[in-house]
Symmetry: D3
Subunit: 276 residues, 6 copies
């Protein structure tokens, strides 16, 4: 909360600048109002906490009540948040609060569609580090609200040896060995491989998790068969709503998708205002 509040205070400041000149001129200082947040299309809810903090930081006198919980499916025209307070405060926080909410609902909604597509398989849907800078914690939470799981948060809480590391380390075997020896012993070692030769090498080297990058379905199935439960398998690259179920049905443990966070479109949400 401490960090989130710092970011939100900066975001409010970004929008308000030295003051809301329209409201100061046009809206009476003592006018109070009620407002409702309305879904203009079906969506999966995420962002109640940051929405709330925008108003809490701006004016502790504003009351915000979420009538649905994060993760809930909200229908078109549902009013899912109710607010009341000074009209100037509601207007000052509206855009910043909605900008966060629309984006986070976008991530949760896209995630939910992908998760639904793999329902019934053991495969879990993962996000990546391809998130909006400074809002990763919220976006990864939105992925969870959508039913997905989180890959590592950043560079310090997971080992993932990628193509650029392999170029630097020389070979898959060397890279895995170095990670085993020098990286924190509480972290599993994951290696990204581009082809079956690298896959075999990673398996022999004892990688805990192998990430199959841009493998076709056939090669994924070969990898599942070779691994035979000795390591966890993750698939990434070119994952779409159309092909995600076929991938999941190969028996891999995880599918990861950067699009969940980097290309989710904002949900259409508006705020309706009723002066008292």
């Amino acid at each position: 909360m401490l960090q989130l509040d710092g970011l939100i205070a900066m975001a409010i400041q970004e929008d308000i600048g030295h003051g809301d000149v329209t409201s100061l001129a046009v809206v009476d200082t003592n006018l109070h109002a009620d407002a409702s947040v309305i879904a203009k299309e079906p969506l999966v809810l995420s962002g109640c906490v940051p929405f709330n903090r925008v108003f809490a930081l701006l004016d502790p006198g504003v009351r915000v009540h979420c009538t649905f919980e994060d993760g809930a499916a909200v229908e078109k025209d549902d009013r899912f948040i109710e607010l009341s307070g000074r009209a100037r405060s509601l207007l000052a926080g509206e855009r910043t609060a909605l900008n966060l909410l629309q984006r986070l609902c976008g991530v949760a909604t896209l995630t939910r569609r992908m998760v639904d597509a793999v329902a019934g398989t053991k495969c879990r849907l993962l996000d990546t580090r391809k998130t909006t800078p400074l809002w990763r914690a919220l976006e990864k939470e939105a992925v969870r609200h959508g039913g997905g799981s989180n890959h590592r948060f950043g560079l310090s809480d997971g080992i993932l040896i990628k193509d650029n590391h392999l170029a630097a380390a020389g070979s898959v075997a060397d890279a895995v060995r170095r990670a085993r020896t020098h990286a924190p012993h509480g972290l599993k070692v994951e290696v990204e491989v581009d082809n079956l030769d690298q896959f075999d090498e990673a398996l022999r080297a004892g990688a805990d998790i192998i990430l199959l990058d841009n493998f076709g379905l056939d090669r994924i199935r070969q990898a599942v068969s070779k691994a035979d439960g000795r390591c966890l398998l993750e698939v990434s690259g070119g994952v779409t709503l159309e092909n995600v179920r076929s991938i999941a049905e190969t028996g891999v443990d995880f599918v990861s998708s950067g699009a969940l966070t980097h290309s989710a479109r904002a949900m259409d949400i508006s705020m309706e205002f009723r002066p008292r």
Copy 2:
């Protein structure tokens, strides 16, 4: 630059946490490398400055050279940024730098397509305040790189009387009069209207700019005809690549679109790494 650097330092910190455990274990501390940033699809470039600042803040020893300028059209497979420096630094900054770049190129590219669609008309394409919190300055610059123009930056540098303000102020005429009297005299008064009655009232009240929200083409043409050059006209709501030219050809001065910033998808860009 001062503010941008502050944000970027926080973004680097968000990704790196207490350290890049993979590189520390797998990549030699003294290994140097070259790297190229490659477009995997055609795009309009935006984000050279923040890309550069990521590495400048992380390790002043990394050299970054943009071979195209912001605003340039980059073809698929073009290498448009070249880097060299310590391998660990390149790997540590890669994700944060690309996350910013991919998003900003996305905004510039979408903007360029819309701008091209209205080419030859006098109509200018505007952004909105529906930007990613904390990155508004960069996203509005990306709109300019794409050929668009910026609407007000935030609540303090432009007067825009919207539906919620009208609800509070009582009438269009009252709201415009109050803005004239109380708001900073150097700012023009813009009013958003939902129908032609409101439009007439705004025109009579002497609004400098009138924003036609969700007007069909017919009604837009009526408004243009009534205004007859006495005020500037802006159109918003439901603007798409398909209909933007028809709107522009009605003779309005501006079309604004929130989608430019809130729903542009990230461009596909990768970084290729060559150890020395």
Copy 3:
């Protein structure tokens, strides 16, 4: 409030350093007291909010009650703020709170005298950007409490083409044209001119506001006559209590004065302390 609190916390820290060694040694930790803030000369009040925030941030247990409102005329010997709380907290915040209050009352009081001098004319009194760094928002509010109006807040919310810009742009006409084309369309274009030739050029170029810098009364009258309502007129330079009414009576719209903020002297205000 978020930004103000940050500045005030830093100001408190500046004065208190690692602790108030006198009070810690001399005043019992549990001693409570009442205190009154007293005007030692007549003044226009401004600064109740920052005065209050000093104590709110220092010790939420201190109660502060302003018995007059910002903008009120306070007589000599009036007690206009009453406080109560821990004696150590009152003593620790006293100087920072008074330093802010004395300065802001100074600005409001000087402004009121100038505003009274132009009473009955249509001319409005404006401040400038010649404010105390970091306290601009409070000083501009003090100007409003004194009855004045605010010029632009800073470089981003108003276009003002000054002599140094003209030197760079080449001519008044070119400068105005460039501002029309490239600056945000919601901002009016203001140009500062030094003589009537420049004035004519600015008028022809269609400037929205023309600032007559260091014009004598005769030339101001000529400008008013030439403008004939086609643009707003502002006068600056050498404005004093003695000549401001004559300037206002020429029919200009605005007179601006840097002295309101950069050279107002601090009002004589003291805090009287009554241990319980």
Copy 4:
């Protein structure tokens, strides 16, 4: 420097907001210029360092050269700082840099006049804590540039028992005794007294420094005679350019004046701009 840079970066931000819309529109991005800072009236210089830091933080490519040193007497029309660099950078920093410089020169100039008035006596002129919040370090340095000396910086580096502390502690003797016992042993104990009875009590209690507040010349002379060198004596209250020499000639060690910092008017200084 670390703290100063932080404050100056915030002050720049306060003025520039999201960008200098006038210069961005009117001044070519590649235009370079020279500029001179000119005294429009005689003054004592203070503020070269913060003036310099404004431009160093804004654009390291701007070169600033002070042709006089802080503390120097500058004549009317002297050009005492020369700058060169990108025109946009010079224009963006101009106001913030001048706002600081004009105020600090004001403090140094007023101080110099007071110091000159007591020349030849052993009496030193002191400032107080009545400074502009957040700029105390610079204002106290300006006092030194003017030839004055500094009283304590804040509440933690000097013991000064004032009327409000005496009200809390009960008696002068008790207050001095408590300060001796509980306050840091490296700090001298100073007591402010309102009358000769309190003075006698403070002298008996062994105060290191006694501050005579609002004493007339006769009573000051009595105090000097009674003290007979056993403690240092300081005078405050109603000190003016007219009476400061008479006070100094009584033989007191220090005269302190809040007006040096809280009511110095800004010096008239301008920046002249020459595009290359």
Copy 5:
């Protein structure tokens, strides 16, 4: 409190990172618990305020009650702080709160042993600037909780001329004279001397306090005898629990010890947890 809260928020962040992955997975979000802080060895208590602030900042719903006061002697197995609140919050703050508490109790406990060793003499035990960076205020408070007194807080609130200053200034006499003339007049002048010749020179120069560094008992006694009450005397260097009383009995005013803060070991303290 303002500064302390800032530091503690950063310390919490240091430990929690992007979240407590163990508690999030293993502990129900709604589980509440009570907890007790228990001394595993006898100690002098210090740190109740920072312990409390950790939880106040992390989760205002956690209640913390200290059953002993700072400065109290706590026995082995005493439960001296009781907490209740959400289990996840208690677990998230536990380590940061204990890390601060264990260290501060260590300082207070070591100080108390040294203070007890000089009981009955007039000699006061002082700390130094050899504190943990960023936690000086808390550690100096812990010294007071242990019964010691504080030397200057930092470089700005006390004059202490050390060997390196003497090397720069040339002679003891010159250094003292320069300090008298140029340093703030409210601060006493202290000089550190290495031998009796320097001591004599410092005494003649009128130092207010002389610090005898690494003097043996004989030479300390000679210095006490020579000083004869004309200045305060402090001893430092090689002070231990074994020799501190002998030093105190020579009649010096102060003994100072860096070990109080730089080498106190952490006290053994644990937190016991009882889910409701």
Copy 6:
């Protein structure tokens, strides 16, 4: 580096306050000096980077050269860092730089002694989260300089189920199962156990690492035998220089010790100063 610099800037500020009054008075502004950092006892070096950053942030003109590398064994009287620059800068940074260095060398030196004690076994020495708040990254680096390895950095990059979590979760088996299901899949699951029953349960539940807390040598041997390589074993509690080798020889993988960081005493290091 970005975060470290922020902390060090605050630490410098903590010590310097509003200025080094002694050096400003006693040391000429233009005096330059050389200085050497000298070990007064044998030590393992750690802290060259932060030592360097103190002076880099304070005065970029100071040159600092470490003649040994972090991790090196330094003998008594070795001069291991050489500095040169303005005398005032050297004196202003001395204490903060040494406070960090003395502590970090203390941690590295104590770690080295423990590491040497287990030389030749496969057992690795680990630190804990019992570090000085805000300086964890440096202290964990000092452990590595001493030859130890790091346990998890904080709560977000490692799963460690401790007694308080077990109390909340109900049973070892439940806790491990929940961690497997809900915690990030890239992290191994570690469980702390107090007795062999818990140990058996943890082994059956498939814990990746089991931490034997306060087990005697016999029980440790039983655990090693039961585990038979199926999981990693760590020992903590009551580890001393005397018993660490016996523990290591049982065949456990790790021994962890909080004392490495919470109770290492500061090394005796001084800075010798030579004015030019």
